[in-house]
Symmetry: C2
C-alpha cells in the first residue's frame, strides 16, 4: 500500500500540530508521499514585500511577482523545513516540485474568460510513473510542494489537492493506494458544527444525494470532486480526515470519511 | 566521466550568461551535477525584508532570519528556476539541497572564537554514494543549492565550493570525475589583469611555489585549496575556468587551469 497524504495550511501554520503530524507521518511503514500546500507565510511575506494578492471574480491570479514568491516560500522555505524535520525523525524525505525530474508535467492554464497567470494544470497522461517508483522503491519519501513547470522554463503555481489526486491515480496502476486529505475537521460532517457527525462512508450515489439535498458545506465540494475523480480512475481508497488522526487513518480503524466506488 | 560543475553568483546574476551556460550544460553527455551558489538576490531580498547582513571579523553570520532567507532564495527561487530552465532544454534536472535524501550530511559549525550561526560543514565520510549513483544512473541531473541540514531539523547555509569538492571526492571512488569551478576569469592568471596569462596546469609543487612568491590573487586561494584537497582525495581532474568556456572545459581542449596531482 502506498500512502499519498496531503496537508494544507491549517497544519503548516500550527507548529505544534505540524510537529505531531510529522512524527506520525515518519512512523508510517512502507512507501509514502507527502504533498503540502502553502500556508499563510506566503501572504505574510508578500505583504512585507509589497506583492499584492490579485483576484479576478474571486480567483487568485499568479502574476510574475507572485510566482517568484510562492516558488521561494513553498518550494524553498516550507518544503525544506518539512524535509529537515522529517530527516530528523528518521524519514528519508526528498523535497521536490513537479519540475524536479519532470515528476509532474503540467501546462500553463489556457486563458478563457480569466487569465490566471502562472498557474499550472497537471498533465496526468504523461506522468512518469517509473520515476516515482524509482524513488519509492529505494526508500525515498517524496515531499512535494504545490508547484509545477510548463516545460518552457517557467514555474507554475498548482493546486496541491489535484496534484495529490493525480499522483495517486498514476500510482494506482502499480500499487494499491490510499489517498488521504488531511484537513481541520474529523471528516465530512453531516452537521457542519458537530464534529461527532462524521459521515463514515460516501459512495457516488450517496454523494449525489447529499449534493442534491444541499447537505454539504460548499468549501468541501472541490475536495470531494477530486476524491471521486481519483476513485473513478483507479485509486482504491480516499480518506478525508483530521491531520491529528493520521495514525488511525493510515490503519484499518479509520476515523475520517472513507470514499469508495 | 562524471562532471561536477559549480557556478557562482557572477553567472546567476547575469541572465544572458546564465542562459548560455545552461544551454552548454544541457548538452554535456553522460552523468553530471550542477552545484550553484547564491547570487545577489538574497541580499536584495534581505534588504527589502529588513534582514541585516551580520559580519563578525569579516565573516558572514547566518542568524535565524538569514537561514530562512537563503533557504527560500537558494533552495526555492534560484534552484527551481535553474531546474525549470534546464528541463526546458531537455535536461532532466532534479533540484535538491543536502537535506533532500540526506544526500549531503552536515554538522552545524562548532562555536570556537566565532559563532557562525546556522552554517554547515559537510560530513564527507557519511555521504551516501549509492544514492547519488541511483540518481545519476537513472539519467537524473542533480542541481544542488548551497544548503545542508544538521540532522536535528535545521537547515544550514553551506559553502558551494566545498559541497562540489566533497561530492566529487565521494564519487571519484566509483567514476572518473572532473570537477569544474566556473568563475568570471578564464582561469588562474599569472597577471591578474591579463586574461591571456592563464596558467594552464598547476600541480602541488607549482602551487606551493606560486604561493611562496605571493603571485596568486588572495581571493582564489580557497578555491585552489578546495581543488588540491579534491585531487589529494582521489578526484582525477579539477578545472578552474570561465563559465562561458564550459563546452571547451568539458572536452579535451580546455581553456582554463587544470589542477592535477
Amino acid at each position: 500500500m502506498v500512502f499519498v497524504i496531503k496537508i494544507g495550511g491549517n497544519v503548516l501554520d500550527d507548529p505544534a500540530a505540524l510537529q505531531q503530524f510529522l512524527q506520525d507521518f515518519a512512523l508510517i511503514n512502507g512507501p509514502k508521499i507527502l504533498v503540502h500546500g502553502g500556508g499563510k507565510i506566503a501572504t505574510r511575506l508578500g505583504d512585507q514585500l509589497g506583492i499584492e494578492s490579485k483576484y479576478v471574480d474571486g480567483r487568485r491570479i499568479t502574476d510574475d511577482a507572485t510566482i517568484d514568491l510562492v516558488t521561494m516560500v513553498y518550494g524553498g522555505l516550507v518544503n525544506k523545513q518539512l524535509v529537515a524535520q522529517l530527516q530528523s525523525l528518521g524519514c528519508n524525505a526528498i523535497g521536490i516540485t513537479g519540475a524536479d525530474g519532470n515528476l509532474l508535467p503540467a501546462v500553463k492554464r489556457p486563458v478563457k474568460t480569466i487569465d490566471y497567470g502562472w498557474v499550472g494544470d497537471v498533465k496526468a497522461a504523461t506522468l512518469p510513473v517509473d520515476r516515482w517508483q524509482l524513488l519509492l522503491d529505494n526508500g525515498l519519501v517524496p515531499v512535494l510542494a504545490p508547484l509545477t513547470h510548463d516545460g518552457a522554463g517557467h514555474m507554475l503555481n498548482t493546486n496541491a489537492d489535484t496534484m495529490a489526486a493525480t499522483i495517486a491515480i498514476a500510482l494506482s496502476a502499480q500499487y494499491p493506494v490510499r489517498l488521504i486529505y488531511c484537513f481541520e475537521k474529523k471528516g465530512i460532517l453531516e452537521q457542519v458544527e458537530d464534529e461527532s457527525s462524521v459521515i463514515r462512508f460516501i459512495n457516488p450515489d450517496l454523494y449525489a444525494q447529499l449534493k442534491a439535498e444541499q447537505k454539504l458545506f460548499a468549501g468541501i465540494l472541490p475536495k470531494l470532486d477530486n476524491a471521486f475523480d481519483a476513485i473513478g480512475k483507479g485509486v482504491q481508497q480516499v480518506l478525508i480526515g483530521h491531520a491529528a488522526d493520521l495514525v488511525q487513518n493510515t490503519g484499518t480503524e479509520t476515523t475520517g470519511t472513507l470514499i469508495s466506488a
